[in-house]
Symmetry: C2
Amino acid sequence: MAPNFQSEGEFVRWLQRLAPPRTPNVRLGIGDDAAVVRIAPDQELILTTDMSIEGVHFSRRLHPARSVGHRALARSLSDIAAMGAAPRYALVSLALAHSSGQHWVQGFYLGIRALAERFGVAVIGGDTARVPDGCFVDVIVAGEAGRGRALSRAGARPGDEIWVSGRLGLSAWGLELLKSQRRPRSTDAAAALHAHLYPEPQCGLGQFLSQRRLASALMDISDGLSTDLSRLCAASGVGAKIWAERLPILATGDPPHALTLALHGGEDYQLLFTVPARRAARLPARFHGLPLRQIGEIQRGRRLSLVGIDGNTSDLEPGGWDYFRK
Amino acid sequence: MAPNFQSEGEFVRWLQRLAPPRTPNVRLGIGDDAAVVRIAPDQELILTTDMSIEGVHFSRRLHPARSVGHRALARSLSDIAAMGAAPRYALVSLALAHSSGQHWVQGFYLGIRALAERFGVAVIGGDTARVPDGCFVDVIVAGEAGRGRALSRAGARPGDEIWVSGRLGLSAWGLELLKSQRRPRSTDAAAALHAHLYPEPQCGLGQFLSQRRLASALMDISDGLSTDLSRLCAASGVGAKIWAERLPILATGDPPHALTLALHGGEDYQLLFTVPARRAARLPARFHGLPLRQIGEIQRGRRLSLVGIDGNTSDLEPGGWDYFRK
């Protein structure tokens, strides 16, 4: 039987109907980057989990073990960044293929440990199993935020400015370069390869935005700008217009290709956020060296549109990653 | 390359050396049933995660979707029970095989929801992906306990009594019956089938033991009494003697087989705990109908021994589930 859910969104809405967050302490349940529950009068616990599956999210042929570990933890750290929270603890579930030896396992955990140490995260548990083939990883991260400070996807209002951090499309370009097995021939290409293998979650920026109460909505760009912006807009009940000429695209030597990467390339783990116009002047142009840039604005209605380099406006279709799309 | 870790214990010790729990708020890290961290002056957060993998932990041919969901959540709830804590929140990661349709997914989540509701657990998040074949599930449960109340495996002392709840071997017998495709011909056989498909985590008993400070060490029997008792003894630095005639074995019609099931059968999710002799009188014979029974005593040294029905003592070798054993 073929699966009948047509998109991840449809599946998530079914799950939400099945298990409504009725517990009074649950502030955000299924459907955002992470869940938020009150655990003390002035404190909220943020919980998230992300799978990394061989053949879907990584390949043992292309990705070194250390990169597999790094990327698996980075996905979950980025979800914590996407709530404006501070990551604290991680648990790692690893189903190890029989063909993965001790050397691979050690590389994998060293990749996890190096990233965890840099973010002050304690790896406190997990689960292990052996499987015939195809490694499977699930990384859980618990974070914390002051009461009411965690930011959801649902707060964007018409007139808010749409901002992104960093450059978009680096990881997708890096994957292309990795598959081509060619040595990177420019600084940008080398940066793309590194961004794909060792992405940097933006936890510092997320906390800055939530603690200063600058953003009205916040999420990370894990599945591509077009897909993630459509999710932010759906959660907030708004539309959006973005300007191609404002996108932080790459110098790949092929501008249309760079635009496609910026719009639809996944796994950049940059932050996408909306800012009420009156607060935008308080945003720095860079946060610890990371460029921040306005790329569009939130509008009434539900339409997502793209103003091209030529000035023509077209519909922006979600073209990023959705496991449920055929 | 073949894996070089010889047992789960060896692998866990390597992980512990790699990532020691240096954070002052981490009271229990890698190696127990669940991790324990302080989150408020009088409160501890308990975190655990357990994988359920098609072909390893379940078979879509033998287990209905509802049972797969129930069992996946029950594994993690049982880890919370094993700490004497109260479960509160769950996250569910599901990698869905292309051959699993919407009907299967709905059955799976209904199994999760029914058990979650009965234990007052809110399902607040998770992750989803699609894979070519072989469903993969990881269930995270967060629980809570008063400060210092969570019980570890490490507190058993020579002279403590060894106790178990319920009957042992039910789930393993149920799996045998399920594989045989024969209709159960006795009340016990029907109970075994049900215990395998819909095991009951013992969260109430776990909290009773921790809140009354009755147990010196506590864990759940997920991989078989012989294996789990050896882990409790290793964590506590002690040995143990158990008496075959005291084991709560089943009426399978084949006593030696029932003894093997009781010693080595996994997935019973009953509790194994040690009680200082002076506190044993405060233990009821039943807890809400669930029989509690002394089966042995903790001894000095590291030896695990079994006093047989014939009165002869032999070494008790761990014969339960260990993914790393060949």
